[in-house]
């Protein structure tokens, strides 16, 4: 038995284009533990959506193995698909059907009672518009309907690819709260997102990929690290830099950022040198800085 819900080993995906072979995912080893919300981060074109599409059987892997709930996929995907809800890229429904009709067809295809359709629609706040045609929905409403579709199965694993795209701030907060609640209720959520602050707020663990390769993975706190920097300001910055360097502190090259967990030592060293601080602000590392640091070499832009 394994406590990993998602597991990939040496996963690779190549696309044949006119200009040759393009590698979208290159030897990816992904491990998502059961429970909690796991962030899946990477710049555009880094292979996030391709990885998700391979996990869900929409795309074939060129090499490597994948497991969901310990079952090899895509071969055993039918045995676990009822436990997985997913929104991949933009929501895709029949535009001429109403939201309710779209959900009803999906529910019937897996033998879910249609009463659950009403419950899912209510959960995402679409009850008033569920009989309107899907094509009349705003992007945010389409996104909510896609999330409602994932809830039809009452999934153990929720895979969400940019779920807050197109939502207004209130909608983003609602979805974020829903994701957090689902994670806390025991559902494993794989959240692919560009909004790093969002990931940091809701995710317990994260994987960062770039150019189809894994760059970092682990608990969000571990990825960010515990070390804290302090921004220092005084009338003579050069004197501050000299004094602190002489006192053995590490000072950032372009900014007066001092890495330490004892800010009192900074004030003491500068006070002894007759320098009086005008600012001493703790600057804690965040996921964005970690992300940018790790993906600095990756090309930004482009599709997946």
């Amino acid at each position: 038995m394994t406590d990993l819900v998602i597991e990939t080993a040496s996963l690779r995906k190549e696309f044949r284009t006119r200009r040759g072979v393009r590698v979208a995912v290159d030897g990816l080893d992904l491990a998502v533990p059961a429970g909690g919300v796991h962030g899946f981060l990477g710049p555009n074109g880094s292979g996030k959506t391709t990885t998700i599409r391979m996990l869900l059987g929409l795309a074939r892997a060129s090499e490597g193995t994948m497991r969901l709930f310990g079952q090899p996929v895509p071969h055993q995907l039918p045995s676990v698909i009822d436990r997985i809800g997913a929104v991949v890229e933009s929501p895709k429904f029949s535009p001429s059907f109403s939201g309710r009709q779209n959900l009803t067809l999906l529910a019937r295809s897996i033998g879910v009672p249609t009463t659950r359709v009403a419950a899912a629609v209510e959960t995402v706040g679409l009850t008033d518009r569920d009989k309107d045609r899907y094509k009349s929905y705003s992007l945010g409403m389409k996104q909510r309907l896609a999330i409602a579709a994932t809830l039809l199965k009452e999934p153990d694993l929720l895979i969400l690819d940019e779920p807050t795209n197109g939502l207004d701030p209130a909608g983003i907060r609602e979805i974020r709260d829903t994701i957090r609640d689902l994670g806390e209720s025991g559902v494993t959520v794989l959240l692919s997102s560009h909004i790093l602050a969002e990931v940091q707020q809701v995710c317990t663990s994260a994987t960062i990929i770039g150019n189809g390769r894994m760059l970092a993975s682990g608990r969000v706190d571990d990825l960010i690290g515990t070390s804290t920097s302090y921004r220092v300001a005084a009338a003579d910055p050069d004197a501050v830099r000299r004094v602190l360097t002489d006192a053995g502190f590490t000072v950032a090259e372009h900014d007066l950022l001092v890495e330490t967990d004892r800010p009192a030592d900074v004030t003491q060293a500068l006070g002894a040198a007759g320098i009086w601080l005008t600012e001493l602000t703790p600057v804690r590392a965040d996921l964005e800085s970690v992300f940018l640091q790790l993906t600095a070499g990756d090309q930004m832009g482009g599709g997946q």
């Binding site: 599409r53 869900l56 059987g57 929409l58 795309a59 074939r60 895509p74 995907l77 039918p78 698909i81 997985i84 997913a86 991949v88 933009s90 895709k92 429904f93 029949s94 535009p95 001429s96 059907f97 009709q101 779209n102 009803t104 067809l105 999906l106 019937r108 295809s109 897996i110 033998g111 579709a149 199965k153």
Partner: protein, 315 residues
């Protein structure tokens, strides 16, 4: 599987474009039947009197010189002249059958149901909802089969009902007009209709399979148009016989055999034709080889479509 079939049946029923095509598949044969009945309506006494009045001078000329009108005497002049101007034949199932009305209706129905097959699934590809369906049922073979069963089944049932109604209506009207219409003739026409329905259902399946292959209604229709326009020309240019022309094989399926023509062998033009050589140039194509022609084409398209759908990435 039954659950998926039911879902696809609902999806088909809810799709407006499909419903419009199915309605057209009922209305167009009904209009053809109505026009046929109108064009073969009995000539009334008032109509005869009106035509006779309008053509009185010609009737008079005929009565003066009946031999110029191919008549022995003047008695038949009025009937002949009126017959020319009224120009209507009484309703005859046999004649309708031989005048290819049934083949025409079968062709129209096949075209409409082919559009049903392409539109039904082309919409899934166009909107991307196919991938959503696969997130709920990842067994692609089942998805392909469920949709195919629904498209073919609905087309077959609708075709059978439309054709049966078409020929039964003609038969009933002929009977009510006191015209000869035997049960054997009716059965012959019904069988023609059912073969037409079977062909139309296969056309729907073919359209569906091609769209699952090309993933676009427009692409499928483009390929079919190209085949329709260039296929016959290519077959003729390659010197392949008329036996392989699609329309000859369509006629043979619907009408239980068809006649086509070939160039007689050169030996037929050198004096007396050799023994055992058919110099008439006329050949007969039976139902079985024509059904095989279409069957092989359908199986090939279907097999490529299934393999492609199972293997290719879904957008």
């Amino acid at each position: 599987m039954l659950r998926l079939v039911r879902v696809e049946l609902t999806r088909l029923r809810w799709r407006r474009a499909v419903m419009l095509l199915l309605i057209a598949a009922v209305v167009i044969p009904a209009v053809v039947a109505a026009v046929t009945l109108w064009n073969t309506r009995q000539v009334s006494d008032a109509e005869i009197a009106g035509v006779a009045r309008d053509n009185a001078s010609e009737i008079a000329r005929c009565e003066k010189k009946p031999h110029r009108y191919g008549l022995e005497d003047a008695d038949g002049c009025q009937a002949q002249i009126v017959g020319w101007y009224v120009g209507r034949q009484p309703l005859s199932l046999q004649e309708q059958r031989h005048e290819n009305t049934g083949l025409g209706v079968a062709t129209i129905l096949a075209a409409l149901l082919l559009l049903v097959g392409t539109t039904f699934v082309g919409h899934d590809w166009n909107t991307g909802s196919m991938s959503n369906q696969l997130l709920f049922e990842p067994r692609r073979g089942r998805i392909w089969a469920a949709k195919a069963i629904v498209v073919t089944g609905v087309s077959a049932v609708l075709g059978a009902i439309v054709f049966s109604a078409y020929w039964l209506a003609l038969w009933a009207v002929a009977d009510s007009r006191g015209l000869p219409a035997s049960h054997a003739e009716l059965l012959d026409c019904l069988q023609l209709g059912w073969r037409g329905a079977a062909f139309a259902a296969c056309a729907a399946l073919g359209g569906y399979a091609m769209t699952m292959l090309f993933r676009s209604t427009v692409a499928t229709l483009g390929v079919l148009l190209a085949v329709a326009l260039a296929g016959g020309i290519v077959i003729a240019a390659l010197g392949i016989g008329e036996r392989w022309q699609p329309q000859v094989n369509l006629s043979a399926v619907v009408e239980n055999g068809a006649t086509y023509y070939v160039d007689p062998p050169q030996s037929c033009f050198n004096g007396a034709p050799p023994e055992g050589v058919d110099c008439s140039g006329e050949r007969h194509l039976d139902l079985a080889p024509a059904a095989g022609y279409w069957g092989i084409a359908l199986v090939l398209v279907g097999a490529v479509s299934v393999v492609s759908f199972r293997r290719r990435d879904v957008p």
